[in-house]
Amino acid sequence: MKDDTNEVKLLMAGEAGLVVEFEAVISPEINGLVQQLMKLLKHNTLAGIIEVVPTYKSVTIYFDPLLTTRVRLTQLIEQLLCKIEPLETKCLAARTVHVPVCYGGVFGPDLEFVARYAGMAPQEVINLHTAKPYLVYMLGFTPGFPYLGGMSELIAVPRQEKPRTKVPAGSVGIGGNQTGVYPIESPGEWWLIGRTPLKTFQPASDDPFLISAGDYLQFYAISIEDYFTIRREVESGNYLPKVSQIS
């Protein structure tokens, strides 16, 4: 990565943290750099690195300063930054996780409101919401909560002023120009348009998180009958999430 290396900042996150910050913007290109560095760090680790956390535009490395040093870590990062392809998103083989959603009704009590706000029929909201896969920029807020990018501005709605104190797990919502799915019951200020029967966070499972940063997430509409069929399969552990590879 020749031209962009100068833009990368290595910042202090206490004595046990190092933030590698690419340009501070939300874009698939910048997040592609984050994902590339994550992959490189997976295969080029250093004794003393505890864990690595990707966000929109940065990678934070947690390390034990009694086992390694910031100097050594910085050397590793500088080596890896040289291997990063500048602003190239296509080089990453990403997964697309397909997430079924039962829109409207009791599961999506705010679908009508979103449709009215957007000046379209509820079905059009569903069509736009399922029109394309969304990039998972990062996870945060609660375990397994994806920050997705790419939702149509046509269905953007300002967040609710008073957050709901309890949003049920699996709820799919819209807040501003963002959309996402709530992995656990939590407070939330987004408008709820549907619910998935999938559990995106299963702490007792061998594979506790359905979605990872760098994945794509594709919502698709299902009927309420399908919701309960899939839910039963999920509960009994027989449901295999649909995952496809983009290369």
Partner: protein
Amino acid sequence: MITTIHPGHFTTVQDSGRWGYQAYGMPIAGAMDRYAMQVANLLTGNSPKAAVLEMTAEGAAFRFDQEQLAAVCGAQMQGKVNGEPVSNWSSFVVPKSGELRFETAAKGYRTYLAVRGGIDVPVVLGSRSTCTRARVGGYEGRTLRQGDVLYVGEDCDFPAAAVQVEAAYIPAYTGAFVLRVLLGPQQNMFSREVIEKFFKSTYAVTNQIDRIGYWLKGPKVVHLDKADIVSDAMWPGAIQIPSNGMPFIMMADHQTTGGFAKIGSVIGADLPKLAQARPGDTIRFCSIEEEEAIQALQAEQQCYAAIKHTVFL
């Protein structure tokens, strides 16, 4: 077997934390005061990974069905075994069918009870720590309730007998804390004058001091421009300055990501002090260099080694 007779105000099972899942939005959790937790584990000959009970503000009470070596460290919540006082920062034997009862914290805020072998709850994502917000780990992902039964594990490293920690290794919870801080990563979002004022000011601990973080009150820390950043990672000790200008310091259960400027970070060795601060206590910040933070970590390790030496002769 340990039965909860009285749950206290907010008692949870904690260990050294659930590391490795922040990339998925999973908080680290773990003991708020790692020093008191580790010393309690050392006093019982436990492995540093053993789980303990963290009591908050108001102590709990337990009945032990077997004779049990236990240790208590942290806030001064006078403990009594069958009505007889036991010293804080010591280990002692609770007899078969004995009752161990703790009072309200007189000094400090969080007390750690270790039992030899550790508290045995299921390991979830590599840790026994409770994260109540995610309902994960510990005892069913929640605080203890009356009647909850806990089992003792086998997380021991070395033999141990009843001992008292030397005064030199016992922190004083004076109510006026000085926390050492490393600047960054967003110190450039504040003027030099504002940063100087931040280090000269005294802040008060508010009553919003849960396991997620500590809200402080005092002179406003004014941003040069706006308060928000493109969301990025947070870590224990990170001092977020939201738009209201009041410092919010991240603690064990903090969200993994956040969207406000972080002026600096409280160093790891000083986080145990903050975990013992109570509403109304005062906080001052002191700017240091990285080298001093690392020396403080080394000093902490030396304390553990010395205490282990007194326990395991």
